[in-house]
Amino acid sequence: MEDKKPLSPHIQIYRWHISSLVSITHRITGIINIILITIICIWASLLLLGESNYEVMKYFLSSLLGKFFILGLTWSFSFQILSEVRHLIMDLGYGFELRTSKITGLIVIIGSIVLTIFFYLIGKNFI
């Protein structure tokens, strides 16, 4: 009897809102960052093994997929940092009102895109 009881639907039916979206993205970008930083470290250590090894990675990064990779990394970093600041403020006990959390969430989302463009322009020596 006990085991027959079904589990009511949860994530399948629950409506997303800004704050839950930012929270889950924060976690996903955290994992992405760990993986990508590791790859960057490996790339840096390839320097020690000589130029040709380093060139392989450089070749990859200048391909279309590589550029997407870099852009994704930049966005992931930007999002993580902004969201982390939001979490720090919440740890101090501020920003829990629904309106405030919605506004700060939106700042994180829009800010991460703005920061990505900003970093891209710096990288391209436009700024």
């Binding site: 009511s8 994530i11 629950y14 809102h17 929270s23 006990g93």
Partner: protein, 259 residues
């Protein structure tokens, strides 16, 4: 462990369709989660066409109308119908709330009604809240005082009393706890917003003399720190309380005290 999919016996299938018999022009489709323990099988979604011209404003009124006029087999908890008892907590339009205080006009399109999320279903819209009540008991939600006198009242200043505002109003409807993804994945260990708000309510009560013991008790990686400030709880609370902030306050107290 995070289990995104529903178990096999819980996947929802399409159920019956109850066509309108009143001939009304103002119809609304209401999709309701159904599961009957006596017949077993998988839960299903029944669809009812409800005449909105002769229906009062709240979702509970819609359910009452279905039960009284269309399908008397529908089971759901309800009692006061004024947002005080917390019986009719359920998931409407993808958000938890009390059916008696949620206007159906706030839900666009079809009205989807499910039991509170991630609970064992007893029947239709009735979820099993035993786990939550056990956790509530575990925080010992009663006054513990060193006062020897049994005849003298324990005085509380106006300022100290004000600290309880926003915590004592909780009606334990479980809308917040069952809206929390952390509670879905770790509900067996994580106390969840409803119980932590009550833990906070007793921690900050100036008349209580077990503050430190209470703090020590919740200071646990799983019991307390599974809160990741998703804020589903605060946005779900039908009484406008803020469990997420209360949890943050407990974390702050733990970070600043020497226990």
């Amino acid at each position: 462990m995070v289990q995104l999919n529903l178990p096999k016996n819980s996947t929802v299938i399409k159920g019956k369709y109850f066509k309108d018999k009143t001939g009304s022009k103002n119809l609304k489709k209401v999709n309701v989660y159904r599961w009957d323990p006596s017949s077993g099988g998988n839960p299903r979604i029944d669809t009812y066409e409800v005449d909105m011209d002769n229906c009062p404003s709240k979702v509970l009124d819609v359910l009452n109308k279905i039960k009284n006029e269309i399908d008397p087999t529908l089971a759901y908890r309800r009692s006061c119908a004024h947002g005080v008892c917390g019986s009719c907590a359920m998931n409407m339009g993808g958000k938890n709330g009390l059916a008696c205080t949620t206007p159906h006009s706030e839900i666009d399109g079809d009205i989807d009604i499910y039991p509170l999320p991630h609970l064992k279903v007893k029947k239709d819209l009735i979820g099993d809240l035993d786990g939550l009540y056990k956790q509530y008991k575990s925080i010992e939600p009663w006054l513990k005082s060193n006062s020897k006198s049994e005849t003298k009242e324990i005085i509380q200043s106006k300022e100290d009393r004000e600290k309880l505002d926003g915590a004592y109003e909780c009606i334990m409807c479980a809308c917040c706890s069952t809206s929390c993804p952390s509670y879905w994945w770790n509900g067996d260990k994580y106390l969840g917003p409803a119980v932590l708000l009550q833990a906070y309510r007793w921690i900050i009560d100036s008349r209580d003399s077990e503050r430190e013991a209470r703090l020590k008790k919740v200071a646990d990686e799983l019991k307390l720190y599974r809160c990741h400030t998703i804020l589903n709880c605060t946005s779900a609370c039908p009484k406008g309380l803020n469990p997420a902030k209360a949890i943050a306050e407990i974390k702050k107290m733990l970070a600043t005290s020497n226990l």
